[in-house]
Symmetry: none
Subunit: 222 residues, 4 copies
DNA sequence: AATGAATGAGGCTTCATTCAT
DNA sequence: TATGAATGAAGCCTCATTCAT
């Protein structure tokens, strides 16, 4: 390891320790001392890498968001159709949260409510990342895959809101458990997308409702 | 004003001041001294009414949630149809947030991320309040108004998540502005509900789920 | 009960409550609120009777010391011989402590270390009370019952010191238990008095002081 | 001075400052700020060394008691005879109090009345130290130097009680003054010891205990 | 005479941050 | 580059005490 690499490695160690401690106790209740302990360094060393406690907090997403973005871009390139892309996009996000619980906690429970975070490089990266979502919506509307009367902002809100709500619940309550957490995303996204798809375009309609209904609801009715 | 009333009035004044200050600066950055000032009392008096700073925070929702619940129950009694009820329920919530911005801030940006809040009387009230939502979903499914294959938890997540997301954005960014904020709720709810309505019932569109699923999975494989 | 008596009764109730609370938690950790509770009154009422918390503390001994003094004077009048009087005096003191544990705690553990207590009416009463002890010592020396070479101050110190030490131990440790506590006083006083009695006078033992001294000094030399 | 030594030196400085301030104003009326001032440090530094104000208080005796113990053990090794040892033991204690007035104040006026102090390392050291006294008493009784009918606990109480009483008086009243304070100890100890020495053993006086007892009881009856 | 209610004053304690080594 | 040690700044909370009723 070169000196440069060693420095980078330690920085990452600090960030991971910080994510863990912040996730566990919240920003205010976490102390630099605790983070230093968890990172195996001294408090002073942390200040060699980050100017302030809040600066450290705001640096946590830089790596993960970059990573998530690259993953998303890699996968999305292979997928056709706006609906499918959106499904994948949301799915990858949830998957990422599940695999990086500390980061998810920091992002959902701490950063999302910090006004100063809005002026941050990390927040800019997140905005950039979410533009992908907007593009996909636009793509779906342009291509006719989605109904033309939907409001992109609303779809975005519903999609991201649902993700956030589910993730926050998972983080706060531990329910549903890790496996179920991912399993639920598919039908949820279905429901969302169903509401916006252009039925003519998909060519699925006219549907024989009675059949579907019988199929699926039959049991319920009896 | 009797002595009892005066006490109650002062308590409410403190709670309102606390909501305002907490909303403005967050829990940790708010000081009791500031709240006392805003309430026109001394710090010590606040401790005559609330045992701790956090206890004060946790008491803020008690009044508003009660009020919101009564409003919702009053209106919902007059509405027929699960979809319409849900629309009204979500709308009333947003309306209430818009009219009680401080309370909304405290709830969305502070309390939602506090684990200890979960064990609170106020949180219990919120859970009770949201049961109304669950009942409405069940009602829609039982009556056949909603498709029977939706997962109630998911619908709940999407609905509340969207509300929270929109509200949080409004609080954090000031966008969209107050008027637009309410205006957007109608189409958003439409979109959501459209995804779950039973098409036979509404006579609009038969969706073929199997195809969508196939399509989706195919995409993932590529 | 006349009004005057009722007032007096309440005052006593407050003093007893105060003794109890002070004894249990010490002066600083006791609160007026607690004392008011224990006395069945309000805090404000306590201030109708006593000007300050410390004034209340300083008033606690007034009754008990008066009572102890009267008891002592009554009994001592019946006893002949300085040694016997001293024994009785010390015994009555211990008996009183045992029967008034809260008062003993307040006196031994709180008041004895308070410099301001020295300027107090209650302290003056205690000094007066202890003059009885000095008189008895003088009586014993004058009559020849005690050796003439003892230092009255020293005897006083040893006698009172032993009492205080035993009482303090009892209060702090609960050892020895209540019954044993009294039982031990007799032999202790014997030991003390034995050291000061004039053997010629009592006809028991021709104590050759010079030899004892020699002996003692001899020991040092070896 | 190495870093380690500097730290130790500062710790001692804080302890000395604390002893001084606590001695002067009592525990509750002393402030950390004052102690910090007296020690030439900041308040926060004190908390780097001691967890709480009370923890600081409880740490004060650690050094002095250790020192006193070593002194006592050194001197006692050179002395023969239980009476002489006891005299030396008590004398060294008083001498130590006189030379460390702040420590004496803290011990006699503050710590002795604190129940929590009983569970302290420092209190354990004191108990260990006083075991020396118990051993000496036992030694005197085993060797026949002391009468066999004395109760060791009582002798201990009388000895320590007298010391405490005299010391407390000196601390509270400033009387007798420093020089006299030490001068009085010799005759006081003589008096004490005279009461317990075995006269047969010393060959001085056949003390007829039965008679004394009779005498005493007779007095009570009259 | 009794008290419910209000408050001024102040201390302990915590940490983020700095700096000399 | 790393850190042990020091500290300034600040806030929560407690109560003795007062006063209007």
């Amino acid at each position: 390891m070169t000196g440069q690499e060693k420095v980078e490695a330690r920085k990452i160690k600090i960030l991971e320790a910080a994510a863990k401690v912040f996730a566990g106790k919240g920003f205010q209740d976490a102390t630099i001392s605790e983070i230093a302990n968890a990172a195996g360094t001294s408090e002073a060393t942390i200040y060699d890498y980050f100017a302030t406690k809040e600066g450290l907090l705001f640096s946590i997403p830089l790596g993960p968001v970059q990573q998530l973005r690259e993953t998303a871009e890699f996968h999305l390139r292979l997928i056709k159709g706006a609906a499918n892309k959106i499904r994948a996009f949301l799915y990858l996000q949830l998957l990422f949260y599940r695999n990086n619980r500390d980061f998810a906690s920091v992002l959902m429970l701490i950063l999302k409510q910090n006004r100063r975070f809005l002026d941050t490089q990390a927040h800019k990266m997140i905005r950039e990342f979410l533009k992908i979502f907007d593009h996909m919506i636009k793509e779906g509307m342009d291509s006719g895959e989605f109904r033309s009367d939907i409001d992109p902002y609303l779809l975005r809100s519903a999609g991201l809101g649902a993700i956030e709500h589910v993730t926050t619940n998972w983080l706060m309550l531990g329910q549903p458990d890790d496996d179920e957490f991912l399993g639920m995303i598919d039908p949820m996204i279905d429901t969302l997308i169903m509401g916006i798809q252009n039925i003519e375009e998909t060519g699925i309609c006219p549907l024989e409702l009675s059949k579907i209904k019988k199929n699926k609801t039959g049991g319920d009715k009896k």
